[in-house]
Point group: C2
Chain length 333, copies 2
């Protein structure tokens, strides 16, 4: 059968352009013994994918040129040659960036429908991005009851969940930054942040000092750069920062200047800790139990920005890098 998939055609220098990608028609043989064929319903576009477009060894191997990329996706089994999955099952897997996925059944995890909620939730509020928020806030930064928490990129897929988990877990004050006034309003009006600011409206350091005049205990970093320097300056004694990624640097062609105030790590006994969510998959059951409860009880809100069709997947990815999404950016296939 014929299907379509997105290839990486050139390694981007700085900001990617549509010409670095191509939607390619491909021939797919029927599934072999033990395999399933899945029609993808939704695929994820995430900041970490930018790193995989570079030809550098990182925590995951780079995407290959002229081959299909990959990433999180949810699909429906349309043909099964495995006893473990049946036609009609909906599955979560890593063969995104394509209309159909095929492979051994064990690479596909069956997910349960949730009443009134799209299956795309398994790419967002019950998916890898929300697990990132959960692990980063609770395990890496060790957030405690009564902490003041600052989340950068707080209207994005990870940040919007991190701020809300902080609230549910007893943070005294939750502060967020985002890249537009509309997002700032979303944080305070819809997600229950105590304060938020538009980092394009003025220096982060000054705006953070206004939003958290007594300083912060925990910083959840999605942005890096001047956000990280400002957060270090605001951290109180014993403060902890979970470093999740630095979207501000992903398309930089020069290394950005580092924070000039690392001396504060000593005098204030601060900790900066980077992490990769895939090291923490053992926390998934705890996460699903706790997050599932919050979602069921309406205590956590999530937003998706949905783009239709594989022809628009690259545009969705680029828009996400520019920060045009509110909550999780999803491509519906």
């Amino acid at each position: 059968m014929k299907t379509r998939e997105v290839h990486l055609k050139a390694r981007p220098q700085g900001w990617p352009t549509p010409e670095d990608f191509a939607v390619v028609e491909a021939e797919l043989a029927p599934p072999g013994d033990g395999e399933v064929l899945v029609r993808n319903l939704f695929m994820s576009v995430d900041p970490y994918m930018r790193g995989r477009m570079n030809d550098v060894k990182s925590y995951a191997p780079p995407y290959r040129l002229d081959e299909v990329m990959y990433g999180g996706a949810v699909g429906e089994v349309v043909e099964s040659r495995s006893p473990d999955l049946a036609e009609g099952d909906v599955v979560l897997h890593q063969s995104g960036w394509r209309e159909h996925a095929k492979g051994p059944a064990k690479r596909f995890r069956k997910v349960a429908p949730i009443e009134g909620v799209s299956f795309s939730v398994y790419l967002g509020a019950l998916g890898m991005t929300a697990l990132t928020a959960y692990v980063g806030l609770l395990d890496i930064a060790g957030m405690r009851d009564g902490d003041t928490v600052f989340v950068s990129g707080a209207a994005g897929a990870v940040g919007s969940i991190a701020g809300q988990i902080a609230r549910q877990r007893g943070a005294a004050r939750v502060v967020g930054s985002a890249g537009s006034d509309e997002k700032v309003a979303y944080l305070t009006d819809r997600l229950g942040f105590d304060a938020a600011f538009n980092y394009k409206s003025g220096p982060v350091r000054r705006q953070l000092a206004q939003a958290a005049p007594d300083g912060i205990d925990v910083y959840f970093d999605n942005v890096g750069g001047d956000h990280l320097e400002a957060a270090i300056g605001a951290l109180r004694q014993g403060g902890r920062a979970a470093l999740c990624g630095a979207i501000s640097s992903y398309n930089a062609t020069e290394p950005p200047p580092g924070p000039r105030n690392l001396g504060l790590l000593v005098s204030r006994r601060l900790t900066l800790k980077g992490f990769i969510v895939s090291d923490h998959n053992d926390r998934y059951p705890d996460f699903v139990r706790e997050m599932g409860g919050w979602l069921r009880d309406g205590k956590i809100t999530f937003e998706e920005t949905v783009v239709d069709g594989i022809d628009n997947a690259v545009d969705a990815f680029l828009a996400m890098l520019r920060g045009e999404n509110l909550g999780k950016m999803i491509v519906r296939l």
Copy 2:
């Protein structure tokens, strides 16, 4: 009675000069009820004292202008009006920078003589600087058997002990940096470092790559600046840096540039953690037990650079900031 003490006369801008200090004659009243009078035998000069000369709130209040400074010292009780201490007892305390100390007996801790070892050991290998090495390496950086460990400023009071503790605790490889070829030879020939380099002889990054070609697991930072950036670049997955202080910046009038490679904290899951030894006094008994055993068994070597007389105390402090000491800088009074 008359005694002499060292006052801070002016807050240094950048590098301190002798004119920022004065040795002043002072009148000391006899000890009151519950107090002791101590004749100081040795006093400590340490890098952290530079920070206390600035008028900024840090983890300790700044020294006051035109008053006596303070710091670790060992002395002999010459008059006691407390049942807790007797004349002739040797005590460790925080009233250094003066020839005599006086105060409530509880501020003075009696120390035992160790055969063949000067009482100044309680300012060095059994003192605060060695406890700093112990806590930083084992608790903050969490050094494990088989780790490759890099210590900067490794010929100094803290670094020389940190490297040797790493060796005793099963490090696979111990690497150090120091500021002269003589110190480098001391590290490899006397202290058992596997490799060492003179950071004035070339870029730290390149020399560290030669000394630890497979990377490092633990970095003990006494220097900051380009040492920290080079160490971050060398840390392997899950690596940990204990930040103890950054002598490279203490006399800087401009904030030094920060490390440009903090993105590695995420991809390699690295941790940077600052600490202050006074938060960890509960580890003193473990430290004394373990370090005392190593010293007794001749497994840990230490060096002191001894300067005589309170008139030379400021010169000793300045020489220590310039790195002219080997091991612990001590003033004998």
